[in-house]
């Protein structure tokens, strides 16, 4: 990597750095590298989207949210997605293929990992410590928060003190206020939600208009995604982003160094992008898939897989939700559909509860009238086999909508998922994507610890909505379509025998191959991970830039 060849590279001309995947982690890397004068090409299987593509302003919004804009790629079934074989998984993985990656559909809950998340071995005697600490990562986090335009209130006692957020918190609304009433009564922790959604214009983003359709893409250009906040800067500085480009294989030379990647372009043509350094940012499923696809005589078990850990230790944060129904009107459709209020009351380990680690709660509004009949991917309103249609629907439907629509508050529970070698991503022998490339298959079982944790948290959330005066509660236990956090499948560590990448994201086996996404996470935390994914990517890319003259290249 010479670092002298800044400026836009022409198609397929060799570059300093090739990045695979244009989601948050790839964007953070591209922007920093381009700013440092390094020539960069990024390959992304999806396309650019803009605010007008999203359905939130349209009358049929709730209907298309269940299909075209569904977060499960197997449900969407679009040619740009790859399918995932899930028959042996308790949870369906969720993601999106576009510039901006899965954050196209994310809820924008901004919840950096806490100090204990980096030290679970030392503190709780389980899994592994990270090779760095919360404090080590904090400067990168604060820098990322500036760019992202996070909205929030400083001083949250769940976290150590840090720099203030760049924009003030969003209104918590009537639903958030309801959540507060219950938590306040119980004396439990709560804080106005911190979100990757600015309340003021910021870095190309509009302020949130509270439209409440964040999870089908923000039609106001307000939810913070890297297609708005990072890629325009990277491209201005010379990075080239090729969309509709699906990488099939990372190639290596006779010295065992990565030389670039083979990809299929939009027209089905096979192309080759050569580079001195390759960084994979394709998420916790796409990244191990690609390494497993990149087999060669030298790497028969897949690239950078001498440890045998590529694809293993998949963590997806099994999820449950508690819905409280109240007498009062709560403006159930008003956003953000980020978190109105968050609670870390039961985040840290207390072994008397029968499990280790903990979970974060995010309080959200209830959504529109169709959402009342189906909820975070599960049908909560369905008739028994033997029922008469008129009894199951009919007056029942009218009563249900009257009672719940505009009267709901929903607690989403994100709990720490512990790493296990048996939870893994492999290649499916039959299923392929639209370019004929083998699709990933998941082998994943929800652990006993997660079961116990979710049972405990569901019970506490139920108390919280009851304390707020709920007249009805509904528990949606372990929803299947909730694998929104894809972590752990290319573990980071010091020891090449027990990890795939080193503490700086460089693969132990291939010195010019890096992984900067959430696959490298040794443990998963009990929070939404994007703040930490972006911060880790920034930390790693800064280190790569600083040492680039020493970097071994093909």
């Amino acid at each position: 990597m010479s670092g002298k060849t800044g400026g836009a590279a022409r198609r397929d001309e060799p570059v300093d750095v090739l990045i695979i995947g244009a989601g948050p982690s790839g964007a953070v890397a591209a922007r920093a590298l381009a700013a440092a004068g390094v020539s960069v090409v990024a390959l992304e299987q999806g396309h650019w989207l803009d605010a007008n593509d999203f359905p939130g302003r349209r009358r049929e919004y709730e209907l298309v949210a269940q299909k075209r804009w569904h977060p499960n790629p197997n449900v969407r079934d679009l040619p740009r997605d790859y399918p995932v074989e899930t028959s042996a998984s308790d949870i369906n993985p969720l993601m999106y293929a576009a510039v901006g990656g899965s954050t196209t559909l994310y809820a924008g809950h901004w919840t950096p990992f806490l100090p204990s998340d980096f030290r679970v071995k030392t503190l709780d005697g389980i899994a592994d410590d990270w090779p760095f600490t919360y404090e080590d990562l904090l400067p990168a986090l604060e820098e990322i928060e500036r760019e992202v335009g996070v909205s929030g209130l400083p001083g949250n006692p769940a976290y150590p003190p840090q720099r203030a957020f760049p924009t003030p918190p969003l209104p918590i609304g009537k639903a958030g206020q309801k959540a507060v009433e219950g938590l306040d009564k119980l004396g439990w922790h709560w804080w106005p939600g911190t979100n990757a959604i600015p309340s003021l214009p910021h870095n190309g983003l509009n302020p949130c208009a509270r439209r409440g359709t964040c999870m089908t893409g923000c039609p106001e250009g307000a939810k913070s995604t890297v297609n708005i906040t990072f890629w325009p800067h990277a491209i201005r500085d010379g990075a080239r982003l090729v969309t509709g480009a699906r990488v099939r294989e990372i190639e290596v030379n006779e010295r065992g160094l990565a030389t670039g990647a083979v990809y299929i372009d939009e027209n089905g043509r096979e192309r080759r992008q050569r580079a001195s350094v390759v960084i994979v940012c394709a998420n916790g499923i796409g990244t191990p898939r690609l390494l497993l696809l990149s087999r060669s005589a030298r790497f028969p078990e897949g690239l950078a897989n001498r440890s045998g850990l590529v694809g293993r230790r998949l963590m997806m944060h099994p999820f449950s939700a508690v819905l409280g129904v109240f007498e009062d009107e709560l403006d159930g459709w008003v956003g953000p559909f980020g978190q109105l209020v968050e609670s870390f009351e039961f985040y840290e380990t207390d072994t008397s509860r029968g499990f280790v680690r903990g979970a974060k709660w995010g309080a959200m509004p209830g959504g529109g009238p169709l959402g009342v009949t189906s909820f975070v991917g599960s049908q909560i309103f369905a008739a028994d086999e033997g029922a008469r249609v008129e009894d199951a629907w009919g007056e029942n439907l009218h009563n249900l909508v009257a009672r719940r629509f505009n009267h709901c508050l929903v607690y989403g529970i994100i709990g720490e998922d512990l790493p296990e070698n048996s939870n893994r991503v492999v290649l499916d022998p039959d299923l392929t994507d639209s370019d004929g490339i083998p699709a990933p298959k998941l082998l994943y079982k929800v652990s006993e610890n997660s079961h116990a944790m979710l049972r405990f948290h569901v019970a506490r959330c139920t108390e919280a909505v009851e304390a707020a005066g709920a007249i009805e509660t509904v528990v949606v236990h372990q929803v299947r379509d909730t694998g929104w956090h894809l972590l752990g499948t290319c573990r980071m560590g010091e020891d090449p025998a027990t990890s795939v990448v080193d503490p700086w994201g460089r693969t132990h086996d291939v010195p010019n191959l890096f992984i900067f996404d959430g696959s490298t996470f040794p443990t998963s935390g009990g929070v939404n991970p994007t703040a930490t994914i972006m911060s880790v990517a920034l930390r790693q890319v800064r280190h790569l830039i600083a040492g680039r003259r020493l970097q071994e290249a093909a």
Binding site: R211, W333, R388, N406
Partner: protein, 139 residues
């Protein structure tokens, strides 16, 4: 998918079994679910067209109750499509939205600099006073 007047009338009769008039709420056919809103719903979910058409074909306008119940027992996918089209079309109409108080996904104005209630009523202060919750990094 082209629907005849007879198809629409049949759909309306089936939809009324699912969504009858009740208290202040009108029946599905009374808000005309079988026309513009059905078209919009089908357009939004083209992948359901086949199941929907099969469901409609299996039912009779003369015996909507028997038909829809038989469909529910015998063809889940077709019943699901007819049911979703009816419910979605119903809640997309202006009249029903007005009755349930749903303005659609609007964008209500707010002032991000306004001091939030929780800072004025002392509730957040109580959280702060309970002190830090996190476990610091062990040294």
């Amino acid at each position: 998918m082209t629907l005849t007047d007879a198809d629409r009338a049949k759909f309306a009769a089936l939809a009324d079994r699912l969504i009858p008039a009740y208290r202040n709420m009108p029946a599905a056919s009374a808000v005309d679910v079988q026309h513009a809103m059905l078209d919009l719903a089908l357009q939004a979910r083209p992948e359901l067209a086949e199941d929907f058409a099969r469901g409609l074909a299996a039912c009779s306008a003369e015996t909507p109750s028997e038909s829809i119940n038989a469909l529910f027992r015998q063809d889940h996918a077709a019943f699901g499509a007819v049911n979703l089209m009816a419910v979605a079309a119903y809640y997309m109409t202006d009249e029903v939205r007005r009755l349930i108080g749903y303005p659609g996904q609007e964008s209500p104005p707010y002032d991000p600099h306004e001091t939030p209630g929780y800072l004025l009523d002392g509730s957040l202060e109580r959280v702060v006073r309970r002190g830090p919750l996190y476990r610091p990094t062990p040294r």
